[in-house]
């Protein structure tokens, strides 16, 4: 990590502080917790709070929401204590947008192909797309890997463990 850079404070303390704060990771971490807490605390009472003796279903969610808001404020406050230049990176040094997209698309494709195409196409699509996320991935290697996993997956999950999902289907028509 770099050492603290003083010039940020030269615009006056309050200005510098708020500017620093907006760059801090913990500031957003606290903010997210406050958001979650508020959703719980504001929505909780609609499930009826009850009394302390006869607690309703809304009691604990509301209480937890309030606690989380307090924790969120505390986390955001700790961002003030961190010197400028530290803990500012929310994204990693080299963001892997393609890889992240591939990893997240993979379960999506599993849902789509699993619902409309069966286990084999779902497995192939899921593994193939996920493996494309790696920088060193080649087309051939990905296809070979996906094929191996598909064969193995169908054998293990369809025939050995008997998961009720057809291997291959097309609308009304299905194999196995």
């Amino acid at each position: 990590m770099s050492s603290s850079n003083e010039p940020a404070r030269s615009h006056g303390f309050a200005y510098g502080l708020s500017l620093n704060l907006l760059r801090k990771r913990d500031f957003y971490a606290g903010g997210l917790m406050i958001l979650f807490g508020l959703v719980m605390a504001l929505h909780g009472p609609s499930y009826s709070l009850g009394t302390l003796m006869h607690m309703g279903p809304g009691f604990l969610p509301t209480a937890l929401g309030v606690i989380l808001v307090c924790l969120g404020i505390a986390i955001a406050m700790t961002a003030v204590a961190v010197p400028p230049g530290e803990d500012e990176d929310i994204l990693p040094a080299q963001p892997q947008w393609l890889a992240w997209a591939c990893i997240l698309t993979s379960p999506l494709l599993f849902i789509v192909f699993g619902t409309y195409g069966g286990l084999a196409p779902a497995t192939f699509a899921c593994v193939f797309v996920a493996s494309l996320g790696d920088q060193k991935a080649g087309w051939m290697a990905s296809i070979v890997l996906s094929t191996i996993i598909t064969v193995f997956g169908v054998l293990l999950f369809h025939f050995v463990l008997q998961i009720p999902m057809p291997v291959l289907k097309f609308f009304e028509w299905s194999i196995l």
Partner: protein
């Protein structure tokens, strides 16, 4: 006391080994135990795969099994991974498994000197001794704890859970404040679904699929599968297998090695078992404390980091004794110390077994069978690790691109198989994104699982305690046992604040935060 322990243990062994109806009188549990340690050892060796993700993937496959077999296999993955993790640390200098990060410091220099085989050999020995001690502790300590815990009313259970949750979140890695926030978030996720007492649907957002709550497997796979893959894809260090050519005959330690590692091994074991008694301090902290202790009492502390055998043996023994010891509060009190234990507890609950002090008397097969399986599993691991070391070393070279993409399939099919419901695959996706955002914001998601598993029981007992005390919140400090737990909670929070505000001494004790340190060292 010893006679009952021996007869209980004998019962456990008979559950695991003997089955009058099976072919050859060998129980199927023996096979589950073997599969468990094999898979555990494998994922332990593979950089970038953890026991958490593996156990969650295997969890749905255990639904069709008997409870004993299921818990024996899942538990075996946990301690099997510890044996494999050491190989990864010593030969490759990759601290991919936090409990073994500290082993890199002296293990890898030994490998560079051509003594990697010896390091692995003494590690297996130390692991077995540490684990055996942890198991012995479990045999004798659990019944004592149970006898105390059976007196507990709802108020005591509640404050004990509070202590467990606080310790689990503040003593683990990273900022304690964020840890507590994660626990609260976990408790909240546990609230989603129908209320136990009134049946009111809470935070389901109109989705009927959420009526039964968020699926444990979806949560675990989202946080420790998808989010973890997003975090480590394309971030893998170049694997350097230049030094990792180890054969069986290299593993034999000399007399000098054995003499030097004898006392550190026992010291590590003791440190590990002490750490496992404090809820929340898992194997990671135990190994760091053990390393620091060993360095402090050594006559040549300046040589640590240059390939001292003591620096390998001591943390490894303590990791293993702590891993086995962690099962004590989980199985005898129903209070898990870390995320893996929470997952195992969840597995028991799915099997219809209510965790808590009544578990040992109601399901002696499960408890004593598990204890016996530890011993059998550890012997299997020694046998697997010594002659087959060459195969494990080969596994180290599997590239990450093959690992995570195949794992994505197992994540999807695993969570689908849990209920045969595609909705849950979507749940994994959403939780995975949330988990990655939390990781990037500096949160460690492990306490979420702790809160999630304990949440419903906490709420139930809290409500019951309030009902019995007629709405008097002071009941928690009026009942003496409960008051002790509350006082410990206060001590924990006070201690954390005190250590945060006190200016840090440089180079005092290596905390769990310095896990990244060995990576930078090379």
């Amino acid at each position: 006391m010893i006679t009952t322990a021996v007869s209980d243990l004998a019962h456990g062994f008979s559950v695991i080994i003997y089955d009058p109806n099976a072919w050859g009188y060998l129980s199927i549990n023996l096979l589950w135990c073997f599969i468990g340690v094999l898979i555990g050892n494998m994922v332990g060796v593979l950089p970038g795969m953890g026991p958490l993700a593996t156990i969650s993937i295997l969890l749905p496959l255990t639904f069709g099994m008997k409870p004993v077999g299921a818990i024996v296999m899942l538990g075996a993955v946990m301690y099997g991974a510890q044996y494999g993790g050491a190989i990864c640390s010593i030969l490759l200098n990759l601290p991919c498994h936090p409990p073994h990060a500290v082993t890199c410091l002296d293990g890898f220099p030994m490998t560079k000197q051509g003594r990697g085989g010896v390091a692995l050999g003494v590690t297996v020995m130390a692991s077995f001794v540490g684990a055996s001690w942890g198991i012995t502790e479990m045999v004798f300590l659990s019944p004592v704890l149970v006898r105390i815990a059976l007196q507990f009313g709802p108020a005591e259970i509640c404050s004990l859970m509070l202590l467990g949750l606080l310790a689990g979140s503040t003593l683990a890695r990273g900022s304690p404040l964020k840890g507590v926030a994660m626990t609260v978030l976990g408790l909240m996720i546990g609230i989603v679904g129908s209320d136990i007492e009134t049946g009111a649907e809470r935070f389901t957002f109109g989705l009927t699929e959420l009526d039964d709550g968020v699926e444990l497997i979806a949560l675990a796979l989202g946080l420790f599968g998808v989010a973890e893959f997003m975090n480590s894809v394309n971030q893998q260090a170049e694997i350097n297998t230049k030094y990792s050519n180890v054969r069986l005959r290299d593993m034999r330690p000399t007399k000098e090695d054995l003499k030097r590692s004898f006392f550190p091994m026992w010291r590590g074991t003791i440190v590990g078992s002490l750490c496992s008694l404090i809820p929340g301090t898992g194997p990671t902290i135990a190994s760091f404390v053990a390393y620091a202790t060993e360095k402090k009492i050594s006559r040549t502390p300046e040589l640590f980091g240059t390939g001292m055998i003591e620096g390998v043996v001591c943390p490894e023994a303590s990791t293993h004794s702590s891993v086995q010891g962690d099962f004590i509060p989980t199985m005898s009190l129903g209070i898990p110390g870390d995320a893996v234990m929470a997952l195992l507890l969840g597995a028991l609950m799915i099997q219809g077994i209510v965790p808590g002090p009544q578990l040992i008397s109601q399901h002696p097969d499960v408890f004593w069978g598990l204890v016996a399986s530890f011993w059998i599993g550890n012997i299997m691991l020694v046998l697997l690790n010594v002659p087959l070391i060459g195969i494990w070393v080969k596994l180290l070279t599997i590239p990450y691109k093959y690992l995570y993409s195949s794992a994505m399939f197992f994540v999807c099919i695993g969570v689908y198989a849990a209920n045969n419901d595609m909705f849950q695959v979507g749940e994994v996706l959403v939780i995975g994104i949330l988990g990655y955002v939390l990781l990037r914001l500096g949160f460690h998601p492990a306490p979420i699982l702790l809160g999630f598993v304990l949440g419903p029981r906490f709420e139930e007992n809290f409500r019951r305690a309030m009902l019995i005390s007629r709405g008097d919140i002071l009941v928690f400090i009026e009942r003496p046992i409960s008051a002790v737990f509350i006082a410990l909670c206060a001590l924990l929070i006070g201690g954390q604040i005190y250590f945060r505000l006190k200016p840090k001494k440089k180079g005092a004790m290596p905390g769990a935060d310095s896990v990244e340190q060995p990576l930078a060292a090379e």
